[in-house]
Structure formats: C-alpha cells, structure tokens
Symmetry: C2
C-alpha cells in the first residue's frame, strides 16, 4: 500500500474530517487507488447502522433526515449522511437539492454530510454507495443515513443497501393504493407519513396501515410500523428513532441484517468484477469496440449474446 493511502485511511478511521471527505471523493471519482483504500478500510467497517431514507420528491426527505440527525446527536451518536443525487446521464451534473437544510449540522464535528452523484449509470448505486457508506462506517459513525430520491427501482436498490429502510410519504402524493403500486410496501421497514398537519394525512396513515395489516407474512416476521411526523417542527421524530431502533434489534436477531449485508457486498463484488471485465475488454480491443459490437447488433448483423461472448472471451 502506498504511503499516502495508508496515511489517509489511518486519519479517516480516527474520524478526521478532511481525510473522510477525501476518501468519499475518491469513491465518487472511481480513483484507481480505491482498491487499496477498500482493502485498508474493510477491517474497520461493520459497526454502523445503515438507514436508508427514501420517498418521492417533495415528501420532506432532507427535513426528515436533518431532524433524525439532531435526534441521534442528542443521544451522543456520531452520524454520517450520504445524500445520493440523481444525475443526468447526459451532462454529468448533479442536482444537489436542498443541502441547505443540513447546514444546522455543518459545524458539528459529530456529523459527516456528503452528497454524492451516482452519474446516472445503471447500477450507479451498486458499488459507489456501499463504498462511501464503508468510509463513513470506518470513520466511526454509529449511524449512516443514506438519503435517495426515488420511488421504484431506486428504492429497491436502497433496500439492498440499508439495514433498515425508512420510506417517507406525504398527503397529496397519491394514496396507499398508489404506494402499493409503486412497490414501496415491500421495501420499507418503517413508513413515515410526513407533513402530518396537512389535509389527508390521516387517510394515508389509515390506508397504509390497512395494507400492512393485510399483507401476509411468516410468523416472527417484521410488521412495518406506520408513523406520522411534522419533521419541520420535529414532531414525531423520537417515535421514528424508536422504530428504527426496534427494527435494528429485530433485524440483528433474525439474521436479516446479515442477509442484507451479504447481498450488498455480493452486489458490490459483482459490480467491481463487471468494471474489471469492461476495462480488460477496452484494453484489449479499444474503447470503441463495444460500441462497434452494439452497432452490429442494431444493424441486425450480430446478436447480443454473440456480442457478449466476445466480451467474456477477452477474460480468457
């Protein structure tokens, strides 16, 4: 391991902010030194509770995340926040959203806040987010909150990333049946209806509770609580923290946390292997060869399986 990386990792595991920020940037930029960084960090990781916070735009994710940070800090816990931003596949520019709400915590040395663009890549979350989480985990965070915009596929990814997934809803954003259609019921461990002072909030809570109640589950399985908050005022946030604690305890005892973590690392390993395959292929045949193969498939001269064979053959 090169001296600068050893030094950086040593400083990050002591919680030094600049070193932590530097390592997250290395993840974001897919630094060639990541291999060394991850090898050095892995033994230090595994203690943090990873909590995913997700929901459609406008439900109050940043406000809720900020309120949760305050609650964890009040218990003396170190907190990491990773806001995963959707990014254009065309320009590469991240829309950082209202990080401004996090500014309350910007000067708190017990809080690491980081936005990260996933570059609009398919599977963008697959290795970058778990690696960034690993950095915050190894830096001594007791809790890492991973905030993602999204309803749908990205939530499925968050469910795979987190030990506990908190799904936020708000009145006026579609009812419980719409929520069920979006597939959120099966990825959420804790449901929170935010903006509970607005019209229709009680109905959303009621609908969700009905759907949760009607869902068949095995004996001993987790039953998702449906809570309500007005996160901007801090109302109901303590109950959310309590529900997160309860889920954590249940998931650790049932083996659920271990299973999710295995799945997360497995996805990361596969994503790294795929990146390696892509790089080996480009080294052998040039950066444009995959585009040429794709063009041949589009022209009907080749089929995608034959093209994939060419890619995997480059590893032999």
């Amino acid at each position: 391991m090169t001296a600068p990386v050893t030094d950086l990792v040593a400083r990050a595991t002591k919680g030094e902010r600049r070193a932590v920020a530097r390592l997250v940037s290395m993840v974001e930029n897919a630094s060639p030194q990541l291999r060394e960084v991850m090898a050095a960090l892995t033994p230090h990781a595994g203690e943090a509770a990873i909590v995913g916070v997700t929901g459609a735009p406008g439900v109050g994710k940043s406000t809720t995340t900020s309120a949760l940070v305050s609650a964890f800090r009040a218990r003396g816990q170190q907190v990491g926040v990773l806001a995963v931003d959707p990014t254009s596949p065309f320009t590469g520019g991240a829309l950082l959203g209202d990080r401004v709400r996090m500014q309350d915590h910007a000067t708190d040395s017990g809080v690491f806040i980081r936005s990260m663009a996933t570059r609009g890549r398919l599977g963008g979350l697959a290795w970058a987010t778990p690696q960034a989480v690993r950095v915050l985990d190894a830096a001594g965070c007791d809790v890492v909150l991973v905030e993602t915009v999204g309803v749908g596929q990205s939530e499925v990814e968050v469910a795979a990333l987190a030990d506990t997934t908190l799904v936020l809803l708000a009145p006026g954003m579609g009812d419980g049946v719409q929520a069920a259609k979006a597939g959120i019921l099966e990825v959420g461990d804790v449901f929170v209806v935010n903006k509970a002072d607005r019209d229709g909030a009680e109905q959303v809570v009621h609908d969700l509770r009905s759907v949760v109640r009607m869902t068949e589950r095995a004996p001993g399985a987790w039953r998702q609580p449906v809570l309500s908050t007005v996160a901007a005022r801090g109302d109901g946030v303590d109950e959310v923290v309590e529900a997160l604690d309860q889920h954590r305890e249940w998931a650790a005892g049932s083996g659920d946390t271990h299973r999710r973590r295995i799945r997360r690392v497995r996805d990361e390993i596969e994503a790294i292997a795929m990146a390696d395959l892509r790089r080996t292929f480009a080294d052998l045949h040039g950066d444009d060869r995959l585009d040429e193969l794709a063009a041949a498939v589009l022209a009907g001269e080749y089929d995608p399986y034959a093209a994939a064979d060419t890619v995997t053959a480059s590893m032999r």
Copy 2:
C-alpha cells in the same frame, strides 16, 4: 436453432399474438432459449419508435398510455405496450397496477399489451426490457410504449431504453423545483402535466417551462415542450402525439436515436456478459461461493476487490 424456436419466431414476426406473448414470457423467465430467440429476432427489429412513459405514482400513467394507444391506433399504427412493474426483491410478486384501464384495447388485434416484472433485480431493466421491446418491435409494432413507475434511478434507465422519454407530472405532486431535484428534467424529452383540470396545474406548467427555458443547451439541441392533458377525457393527447413525432424526427436527424440505441444495446451486452460471468463462477465454485466471499468481506478478512478478482479469475 431448434425447430420450436424457429417456428415461434417466424410466427411472432408475422404478428401472431400467442407467439409474441410466448416470447415475452421467455424473456421474463430468462429462458435458456433466449439466445436463439434473440439471434433470430435481431434482424427483424429496429423499425419501432420506442417511447418511454414515466412519472411518480398517481400522475395517471396508465390512463395516458391508454389514450396514446387510441391516438396511434386512429392513425392505423400497430402499438405495443410494455408495462414494467416494480417487484418486491423479497417475494417476487408483481403488482400489476390498473391494467384494467387497458381493457379497451384488449380485443384490438393491432395492440399488444404486456406487463413484465423486473424481479427487483439491480439492473433488472438492463436486458429484460430491451429484449421484450425487441420482441414487440420485430412483431411489427410501429410504436412501443414502455411504461414504468418511478422518479429517480428508474427514469434514468427509461431514458436509456427509449428513443423518446415522456415524463408525466400532475399538480399536487411537488412543484417544478422538486421535479428538477428529482433529476427528471434531464431525462425527459417531452413533459406532460396531466390532470390539468386540477388546481395548481398551470403553476406546474409555468414552473417547468421556466426551468426548461433557463437550461443551457447547445445550438440545435432539443428543447423539451411542456404540455398539459386531461388524459381521462383525451384532452391534449393529440398535441402529445405531435410532440412525440417532432422529437422522433429531431432525434433521428441529429443522431440522438442512434446514440441512445447504441447505449441500450451496449448495456444489454454487458448485462448478458455479467450473467454469463455469474453462471460460470457458480458452475465452477458452487452457488454459495459468492455469498461466502461476501461473508469474508463482511468479517474484514478479505476486501471486495480481491473477491472480485476471484470471480473474474473463473473466466480464465
């Protein structure tokens, strides 16, 4: 090629409904015969306009899709509809949503409608959806509408899948700034504010237009139209069809369609290569070996890059 597959493909390319349905099922179930199917279908595909329809739950995607189907049918076009359903990573059960709205078209021989579960897999869209689109394309559809729930990562995937992406919004689902935060501005080619008879619709249209106007773009680049509809009554649907036509013409002329299609096939090739890698590894080392590697990483005994090396080494 085995006789049944040859026969099935021949029948599907003549537009025979049962053969088309059978091929889509083979895609959905990852049939081992897909390789033959895709090799036989590829020369027949490439004519259809692929239109992605996406937006948050509750904006009226099914209603809008159904209205678009009627409009395309009125022009005498063959239409395929592929509704990609979010699926639990835990139970594998798809929530088929309100396919009932599509029943108007169920007996029309010029319309193929199919729901497909993506099985909650990371990258679930990567090969299954393009392959199902290829089936509908080769079956003679002039237009294939790919309807997905989602705001966020899944939209990025839809943008990669489609030649033209229609993003649906509705009043009360967050304003234009929220939309910008969700990253939809850069994936949408045509924006439609549905439920335009509701309060706040004009404001959403106004906000979106402002954001579109302020977005910097290269000379000759596409400027996204922002339209409004009441899809349930068919209001504004003809204007949407016209905007889709205009985008198609622009995208064909600018090379944008070709670039997107290259990207789509490239992603499909890589997804197939990855599936091959996974299978080869499991054949060599057993189905559980990847989980064992992941467990070693979790225990801090191994790093994810070393684990990935073990996977890629299985190809050598």
